[in-house]
Symmetry: C2
Subunit: 552 residues, 2 copies
C-alpha cells in the first residue's frame, strides 16, 4: 500500500496539471476543506483524498485514467458517495476520487421491455421522477439509502432493495466499462454493434464479464441497463410482529417455503426491537440517565408502550387482485400461531389513516401518526419509492436533534454495518442474531439487527453498530467491535455480502483464489492504478490485521 507521501513523490502535481488541462480547473477539487470532508465517513478512517476529479463524459474518464497511468496515481471512482455505514466516499487507501456525479443522463428507456439505461450519476430520486413525469406504468426498485443515492453505485456494491427487482446485480446488464488502461468495453450483447438485446439479456455469448466489475477494482462502470417491473394490478404490504424472543426461527422456517415457491416475490424484512427503536427515534438518554448500552429491561418497557414486537416483519405482495388474495391467504396460514399480529396495508387503508390521523387520535388517544411515520416509508419502499426516512436512525446516539438536512458524515454519526449472509433456516438465523447480540452488548452497543430474506435460500442480516463519533474512544471501540463480530461470523460460517473500506483487506487469502484474483487484476491493470485495496484480498493477513485495528 502506498501512502500520501509516496504518491506525491511519484508525481501527483504533474497529474493534477494534466487533469486540470483536460477538465478545466473548476472540475478538479483541490480545496483542502473539501478534501477533508470527502475523507469523512461514519467511522474512523485514515486514507486521505488527494483531489477530486469531476469528468462528465466517458472520453474524459478514459483520459483521466490514462493520465493516472502516466503518473502512477491511484484513482477511486465514486458515483454519489453515499455508501453509508461502509465508508461513504472514503477510499480504502490514499488516492484521488473520480466523482461520477455529473454523468447523470438517462440514455435509453423502454416502457414495453421494462428497462432503463443510465449513467452513474443517476440517483434514485432522478429515476423515480423520470418515470413519474412520463406517466410510466413501471416501478423501479429502491434501497433504503438516500434518494440521492446513485443506482449504479449501489448496484456495484451489490446493494439490495425491497421489490421483486431487489437483487440489483441480478437485474442489471449491458455494462459500459472504462478499463484501467483507458480502453472501454461493453458487456453481454452490448458489445455487438447494433445489437438489440444488450439491455435485455444477461449472459451474451462467450465468458460473462459482468460479475468482475461489482465489488472490485477491475473497471469504472459508466453505463448500465437496469430492469424495471410493471406496476402490478394490485399491491399490498404486510406487517407482522412477534413478542417471543424464540419466535424468530419458526417465522423464518415458515416463510422460507413461500420464498421458494415465489408466493413471496420480494425481500421479507425482519427487524428486532432495537432496530425499530432506532428507526423511530433517538436514544432515550433521559430514561437511561445517560448510560449505555440500552438494557433489556428498558427496551421491554418501551416495547410494551409502543406496540413494537421483539421481531417486526414487513414485505410486499404483488400481482393481480386474485394473486394477491391467494398470497395473503398463504401467508396468513404460514404465520398462524407464529406471530402476534399480522396486518395488511393497501393504498386505501393508508390513505384513510393519513386522512383520519387527527380525529382518530382525538377519539381513541392512539397516535396513528407515529405508526404512520414508520409504516409509510416502508410501504413506499416496497413500491420502489425512495425515501430518506431510514437515514434518521444514523443519529440514534447523537445528542443533537436530527437535522432537516441530514449528513451523517459531517455530523459525526457513528455507523458501521456488518452484513453476513445466512441460510434461510431458523437455526442459522437464530445463531447469527445470538452472536450479534452478545458481541454488541459486550461492547456496550445496542444490537440493532435486521434480517432480510433476500433470496429464496439466503438472508442478508444487517447488524448495526451505531454510536456518537464525538464521544472520546467510541471510534476505536466501534471498530474493535466490528472486527470481533466479523471474525466470529466468519468462524461460524457466515461471511458478509459487503465490506467497509477499513476492512477490505481482511478477506485474507494466500490461496489459489487470491492468486487468481491478483493475476486477473494485473492483466487489466498492470500499473495498479484503479482503486488499489478495494475488495482486494491481502496476500498475508498479519500486517493488515494490525492496520485495520491500528487505524481505529
Amino acid at each position: 500500500m502506498r501512502d500520501h507521501k509516496e504518491i506525491q513523490r511519484t508525481g501527483l502535481a504533474g497529474a493534477l496539471v494534466a487533469w486540470e488541462a483536460l477538465l478545466g480547473t473548476s472540475q478538479v477539487t483541490r480545496d483542502p476543506e473539501a478534501l477533508r470532508e470527502a475523507s469523512l465517513a461514519t467511522f474512523s478512517t485514515t486514507p486521505r483524498v488527494l483531489a477530486i476529479l469531476h469528468p462528465v463524459t466517458r472520453e474524459e474518464i478514459q483520459e483521466v485514467v490514462r493520465i493516472a497511468n502516466r503518473f502512477r496515481i491511484p484513482l477511486y471512482p465514486v458515483s454519489s458517495g453515499k455508501n453509508w455505514g461502509y465508508g461513504s466516499r472514503v477510499p480504502p487507501q490514499d488516492g484521488v476520487l473520480v466523482d461520477l456525479g455529473r454523468m447523470n443522463r438517462i440514455v435509453d428507456f423502454s416502457e414495453e421491455l421494462a428497462y432503463v439505461t443510465i449513467e452513474p450519476g443517476v440517483t434514485q430520486r432522478q429515476l423515480h421522477e423520470f418515470l413519474r413525469e412520463r406517466g410510466s406504468r413501471l416501478w423501479m426498485d429502491a434501497t433504503g439509502a438516500s434518494p440521492e443515492c446513485s443506482i449504479i453505485g449501489n448496484t456495484m456494491e451489490r446493494g439490495f432493495g425491497h421489490t421483486p427487482m431487489g437483487d440489483h446485480c441480478g437485474t442489471a446488464c449491458g455494462f459500459e466499462v472504462v478499463l484501467p488502461n483507458g480502453e472501454t468495453l461493453e458487456t453481454g450483447f452490448s458489445r455487438f454493434p447494433g445489437s438489440k438485446t444488450g439491455p435485455l439479456h444477461r449472459w451474451g455469448v462467450g465468458p460473462s464479464l459482468d460479475g468482475l466489475f461489482s465489488q472490485s477494482n477491475f473497471g469504472i462502470v459508466t453505463r448500465m441497463s437496469v430492469w424495471l417491473m410493471p406496476a402490478p394490478e394490485c399491491f399490498q404490504a404486510f406487517f407482522f410482529l412477534c413478542h417471543d424472543e424464540q419466535g424468530l426461527g419458526p417465522i423464518v422456517d415458515a416463510l422460507r417455503p413461500l420464498r421458494l415457491n415465489e408466493t413471496l416475490r420480494s425481500v421479507v424484512h425482519i427487524g428486532n426491537d432495537y432496530k425499530v427503536l432506532a428507526a423511530t427515534g433517538q436514544y432515550p438518554w433521559g430514561r437511561t440517565e445517560g448510560r449505555v448500552p440500552l438494557g433489556r429491561a428498558i427496551v421491554d418497557g418501551i416495547r410494551r408502550e409502543s406496540s413494537i414486537g421483539r421481531w417486526n416483519g414487513s414485505g410486499g405482495l404483488y400481482g393481480t387482485r386474485g394473486q394477491v388474495r391467494e398470497a395473503r391467504s398463504q401467508l396468513r396460514r404460514a404465520l398462524a400461531g407464529k406471530v402476534d399480529r399480522l396486518q395488511f396495508v393497501d393504498d386505501r387503508l393508508l390513505g384513510f389513516m393519513q386522512t383520519c390521523a387527527k380525529p382518530f387520535r382525538l377519539l381513541t388517544g392512539w397516535d396513528v401518526s407515529r405508526t404512520l411515520s414508520v409504516v409509510a416509508p416502508v410501504y413506499n419502499l416496497l413500491k420502489g419509492v425512495p425515501t430518506d426516512a431510514p437515514m434518521a436512525s444514523t443519529y440514534w446516539r447523537k445528542k443533537m436533534r436530527v437535522p432537516a438536512h441530514m449528513n451523517p458524515d459531517r455530523d459525526g454519526c457513528g455507523l458501521l454495518w456488518c452484513s453476513p449472509v445466512v441460510p434461510n433456516r431458523g437455526q442459522d438465523i437464530a445463531d447469527v442474531t445470538q452472536i450479534a447480540t452478545s458481541t454488541l452488548l459486550g461492547c456496550e452497543f445496542e444490537p440493532q439487527i435486521s434480517i432480510s430474506l433476500a433470496t429464496a435460500r439466503a438472508a442478508i442480516c444487517v447488524i448495526t453498530i451505531s454510536y456518537d463519533r464525538a464521544v472520546h474512544g467510541e471510534d476505536e471501540r466501534a471498530l474493535r467491535c466490528y472486527v470481533a463480530l466479523l471474525e466470529r461470523l466468519l468462524a461460524s460460517g457466515y461471511p458478509p455480502y459487503r465490506l467497509n473500506v477499513a476492512s477490505m483487506d481482511r478477506m485474507r487469502d494466500d490461496t489459489s483464489y487470491g492468486n487468481a484474483l491478483r493475476a486477473l487484476k494485473a492483466s487489466l491493470d498492470p500499473n495498479g492504478i484503479l482503486a488499489p485495496g478495494r475488495y482486494e484480498p491481502a496476500a498475508s493477513a498479519v500486517e493488515s490485521n494490525d492496520r485495520a485495528i491500528g487505524a481505529a
Copy 2:
C-alpha cells in the same frame, strides 16, 4: 491455431506416458477407432481428438493439467459430450479430451434449502432418479437434450430448461474449478472454509467469478451447486395453436406482460409447423417424391390433417391451486382472439387420455396416442422430467428408421443449431422468423424454428438446419447456410446465445473487448493449454472466415 502435427512435435507421446502413469492405461483412450468416433459431430468438423483421458478425482485433473502444461498439449474437457447441434464432443481445434463422465458423485443435497451439489458426470437421469428414490418433494429442471446429458456440461454451455429454474447459469453457484495452471478455487462463498452459504448465494464478496467459467476456456468446473424447486401444490401445462402466419407477433406481445409480471414463471415455447413435423415424424419422402425442401403446400396439407398450427405453443403453470387458477384465467384473457385453440392439461387429463386412447380411437377415429406422444414428453419436461423424445427429430431427413438406441453422431444425422437471442416483442420475433425462413428455404432446408420466451425480456430462437450427412454435398451446404444465417442475424442485431465448435472464432473482435478477454485468459493460462479456440474471439476475422467455410 496448432494442428495435430505440431502438437505431436511438441511432445504428445511424452504427455501420454505421463498421463498413463497417472491414470493407468485403461483410463487413457488411444484406440484410433474410438478417437475417430469422438471426432464425429452432427455436422462436418476437421479437428482431431488425439487421446481421451478419464480422470475421476479433482486431484487427478489437477495433475492432468500440470502434465499438459509441461508438454504444451491442449486439453478439451467434456462432461457427457452430448452437445448436439453445436459440436457434440468435438473440440474446436485438435487436442486431447478430458472426459469428466466418471466424476459423477452427488456430493451434497438439501431438501430444506432446495439444492444439490454435483460433479460434471452427473446426468439428468441420475439426478432425477436420485430425487425420486429418496422421495424428495423437489423438482429439478431438465432440458430437451438426452437424459444422459451432463447437468454441469449443459450449464456451462448456458443451456436452458423449461421449469421456473430454466436459466441454468442463473440457478447455479459455488463452482469448484481446476484452473489451467493446475490450482483450484471455489467461487462465491464456497471459497471460505466452513461457509454455510456456498450453495445458497450467488455473489460472494468481492468480484464474482462465476461468469468467467461458462462458455469459456478459463477453467474446468469440477463441482457446482444447482438450485431445485419445491414441487408445486398444483401444476398444469398449456398448449395453444394458431393457424395464421401473422399470428406470432400478437401472441408474443400478449405473453410478454405475463412473463414480466411472473404470472408465467417459466419458458413459453412456440414452434412453427416445420418444427412440430420434425418432432413427430420423419421427412415425408413419399409425398414429396424424394424432393427437398418440403414446400409450403405440402406442409399446409399435413398441417390440416394433423391439427398442427402454423404456430404451436406450450408452457407450464406452477403454484397453489388458487395461483394456477388465476394464471389460467390471465392466460386465457391474454390469448383470447389470438390463438385458435388453448388447452390445459393436468395429471388427471393426461392419465385419462392414456387409459382411454384405444377405446377413444375406436369410438371417434381420432388417434389420441399420436397427440399423446407429442404432449407427454413436453408435459414431463415442464415438470423437469428428462426425456429423449426430442432427439428423434435429428433423424428427420434420414432414410433409415429412428433406431431404438439413438446416436446422431454415429448415424450421420445432420444437425446445426443457430440460436439468436431476440427481444420479446412481436416485431422482432417476426423479423427473425422471416430471416430464418427465407435463408433456410433458399438453401433447400426446412426452416424448423422454435421461439422460447426464456426470460421476461428476451427469447431464444433455435433455428434448426436438419439434413442427412450421407447425402453428398449436404455438409458443405448446411455449414454455408448456417454461416449465412448467423451473418444475417448479427447484421440485424440478433447475436446468438451459443455457438458451434466450427464457428467459435467467428465472434471476430479486434476491439478492446477481445483484448481484455485475451489478457484475462493469458493471466490464468499463460501456456494456452486449456481449450484454445473455445468461445475465443479471433483477433482478426479474415483468416477465420475462410477457415470456417473451408472446413465445411
